[in-house]
Amino acid sequence: MRATLKSLALSCALGASLASAQTCPTRASWPTDEWPVNLVDATARAAPIKALEDFAFTLVGTDAERKGFRTDGLVIIKNGVLVYERYGRGHDATKRHISWSVAKSFSSALVGIAVREGALTLDDSICKHLPEYEGTAQCAITVKDAITFGTALGWQEEYENASYQVSSVIAMLYGAGHRDQLKHILTHKLVAEPGKRWSYSTGDAELASALAKRALAKAHGKDVFWKLLFEPIGMKRVVFEEDVLGTPLGGSMVFATPREFAKFGFLFMNDGCWNGARIMPEGWVASSVTPSDVFTATAPDTEDTPSGYSWWLNKASPARNKPKPWADLPDDTYAALGHWGQRIIVVPSEDLVVVRTGDDREGSIDVNELTKLSLAVTR
């Protein structure tokens, strides 16, 4: 009897698993070549469009003063269709834009693809894929730590507004660490047990992209990011910069057009599937947009926005006594966020993707207001 029940339970589990594995969202069309375009009626929607554009495109002072929100591109995708698009400050639909830390969400996705390919697991020590660091204390870091800001390396995430000399980021990109950025990252000492300390880090994300490349390039070659991610979803002109040794700069240096960035958001909104094919492994998107254990347990009280696999989430944190960070947006909203106001915002319950590129040098554009005003344009 017990054997029969066990067999039945196993059959049910397998059945559920197979059904789930076969389930990818269906769409009327997929924007692999181009987004279908059906712009909102500018007359009928004049008021919400004006509110959005007043917020995002009103320049303050002279260009040299670098004040206010300086939007370079804004694209809204609703129900799989491009419904709004505007550019500013010399940018247009053909021009790539820097991602800054939006790149971190790409890096975690590339780790996910490596998991799908069986090239690594989240529990692997990083040294399994970076054997030159075998024997170091940093081997206690796992792949999962790298995509959840949980390496516990003593990284100092500072930018141009702090003293340059205390910035691990500036030293890596422009200073002593720039030629071998992986070495720069991994010569930071552990300041806690990996997986037990959340700290936002461009070094962690770049480590993640290096792990994905090392794991995948053996079977797929050095262009593996394009082969397994960018080309299948039609990010035809994306640039992913590297250091001189070929380490991808996965914390900051992805360049793409706003329309292309929107395809990455659309991939995640469709559970990591694209036109019936599973790009991200099953369950990856759900895990990516769930607050990580290391965030929930150890993030500092000053951090209001939970993170998953390098995505930022509109989730309340009862254990941390925090409300959801974007009060006017649905709970299922998540975003890839970058310096100077780069944003890919995904709202699955509204079938909405918003991409905003910009050059905000004094405070980045607010996700809540930007998305709320974008939603109003589409209604």
Partner: protein, 103 residues
Amino acid sequence: MKKTMLALFTLAALGGCADPNGTPRTFANSDLELAVGNAARMGCSCLFVMEMPEAYCRAWVKASPDVAKLSFDVANKRVESSSFVSFAATARYVDEKRGCILE
């Protein structure tokens, strides 16, 4: 003279590292050296990857301290920057997938 200037810049840079929360690690590059690296690297990506005009890119990469010289070699897809105390950096465009690298 050059060494004295370099030492002064380095000391000035390290002098700005006090942190009320502790003693952070400091990196050995001076502000000017980092600004030169930033200008070359980001200037290259701006011109050859983002494909923005040279004037836009000069403004986009501007940081403090400002570098003394920023040269865009469009024919060879290279960007060089330098300061008056001998720091210099070069970034070059690699290809359509990998954009620019700082040499």
